[in-house]
Symmetry: C2
Subunit: 296 residues, 2 copies
């Protein structure tokens, strides 16, 4: 599944084109030939058709503790990526508990706290604050509204989801590194007419989409071994201690539902093998006594 990489590389090279195809200041322009040779056909078509700019279909936001692929259409993240380990999960920073508008985003494409007022949804951070208590900047940045999707409050986020996040941190502590993608899904259901429909609520003046499901895709490294685990969780009331097994899926299932290709830097055999593996049981699943489930 390297195909998507090629696409992203093309986005990359072509979005750069107006910049990199001119000679960088103080350079001999050697790069021009190098990049140009790779994408000459694309560059020619770009120059012909895309004269007045290239409408982006998303934004990438780089934070100290996470990377966010923000969907400008739904006003929620496609995914948020984190790398969790004992080092990052150390404590120390103080929470401010203040959400903030993300000024990196075009005002037309971002959510605001007002959008949530009068709804049944809270501002659910996809990169949890409790994952970043070791670094004040990283912690602050979890409060950007670009890291937020609407989540049912008491009956989902404050119960099941914070427990699930605490469990994820526990998996991270047992590993050398845990790479986690947390994201939003909009999945179809069968309608009364037997056809399939995607249906989701949008809230507020900015029409922020309420996901039908959330996913987590994880890669665990431990003693040089790699394992994957993936979940698709329906966005509906769930008990705090609801078992995780019913939500276990193959990584391939998330990829297909989300239109995403994870871990494409792994070799193809490794990737295929790990991503297609049928989920068996959830990794050793106990929330440590020391962690308060209210701490998300």
């Amino acid at each position: 599944m390297k195909v998507a990489t090629v696409g992203l590389l093309l986005v990359a090279l072509c979005a750069c084109s107006k910049r990199t195809f001119t000679t960088p200041p103080g350079k001999g322009g050697g790069e021009v030939t190098w990049v140009g040779a790779l994408v000459s056909a694309e560059h020619r078509i770009m120059g012909d058709i895309m004269t007045y700019g290239f409408p982006s279909h998303g934004m990438l936001l780089y934070r100290e503790g996470y990377v966010c692929s923000y969907d400008t259409r739904t006003r929620v993240p496609h995914w948020v990526a984190e790398r969790l380990n004992t080092q990052r999960l150390r404590r120390g920073a103080k929470r401010t508990r203040r959400f903030r508008i993300d000024s990196e985003l075009n005002p037309e494409f971002r959510s605001q706290s007002n959008d949530f007022v009068g709804t049944e949804y809270v501002r659910g951070r996809l990169a949890a604050a409790s994952n970043h208590l070791g670094d004040a900047v990283a912690l602050e940045q979890t409060y950007y509204l670009s890291n937020v999707a609407p989540q049912i409050g008491e009956a989902f986020r404050q119960s099941f989801w914070v427990h699930f996040e605490a469990q994820t941190r526990e998996w991270a502590r047992q590993a050398d590194d845990l790479y986690v993608f947390t994201g939003t899904l909009f999945l179809p259901e069968e309608g009364a007419d037997g056809k399939s429909y995607v249906r989701y609520e949008v809230i507020g003046a900015n029409q922020v989409a309420v996901p039908t499901h959330f996913f987590k895709v994880m890669l665990r490294e431990r003693d040089g071994r790699r394992e994957m685990q993936a979940f698709i969780v329906p966005h509906r009331p769930l008990e705090t201690d609801a078992p995780l097994e019913p939500f276990l899926v193959r990584v391939d299932d998330v990829e297909r539902a989300a239109g995403l290709d994870f871990f494409d830097e792994l070799t193809e055999p490794t990737q295929s093998m790990l991503e297609a593996r049928n989920p068996g049981t959830v990794w050793g699943a106990s929330v440590p006594a020391g962690e308060s489930p209210g701490g998300n």
Copy 2:
């Protein structure tokens, strides 16, 4: 509205990073410093968190006659961009009328003709074949299924839409160049409970999304002057000669609905002025006698 450009540039530089941060073959590595200086923080975060790859949120497809931003989640284009002019609209090439799977796309993310079987929808090319009758390769490439969204057949595509496309070509013939973005929208409606919901059908094994609306955004150049015109058309039965005025919108309206920023290479004052202008009347609107409305 330059914010999205920055994001795309970041996608660009970071997606390149594994390649451009190594020294290109035979070069002194001058580019490394140049790019590195621009994105050092992002690069550091990338290296830390995104070790195993970067899930793309779309694909860019370069064709002789159009550029397509393909949405891997909905399996239809976000948009297709064309530059139409008298030169491109000349005739000569022969149609084959054979749709083809796009092998550039990951099999998990692409539509197939089978998805349309037994539905009320036809394979609606967003870059119309009749826009590319001057070049055999360009014409062939309009038949890729990546250029397709489901459209109601007789009551929409074969009536209103082909007429609208013919009108668009007429605007191109009256201009020096007409830059056109044609794309898909998924817009909310009020539900019985007074809340807003997005609802759309998905068809076939690949769950191809049926857009609720289509848009066209146009920039016309004529004698050194630039004008814009934009439409949002509901995807429902429409008469061949349905007037276009009710579908006229500001470019800003499409941007907000689609999460896209058009024409960001224009200077900010020009862009703001042209995109915020309230639509008055449709550009001189007559389909030429010589063009068959069945020819889309």
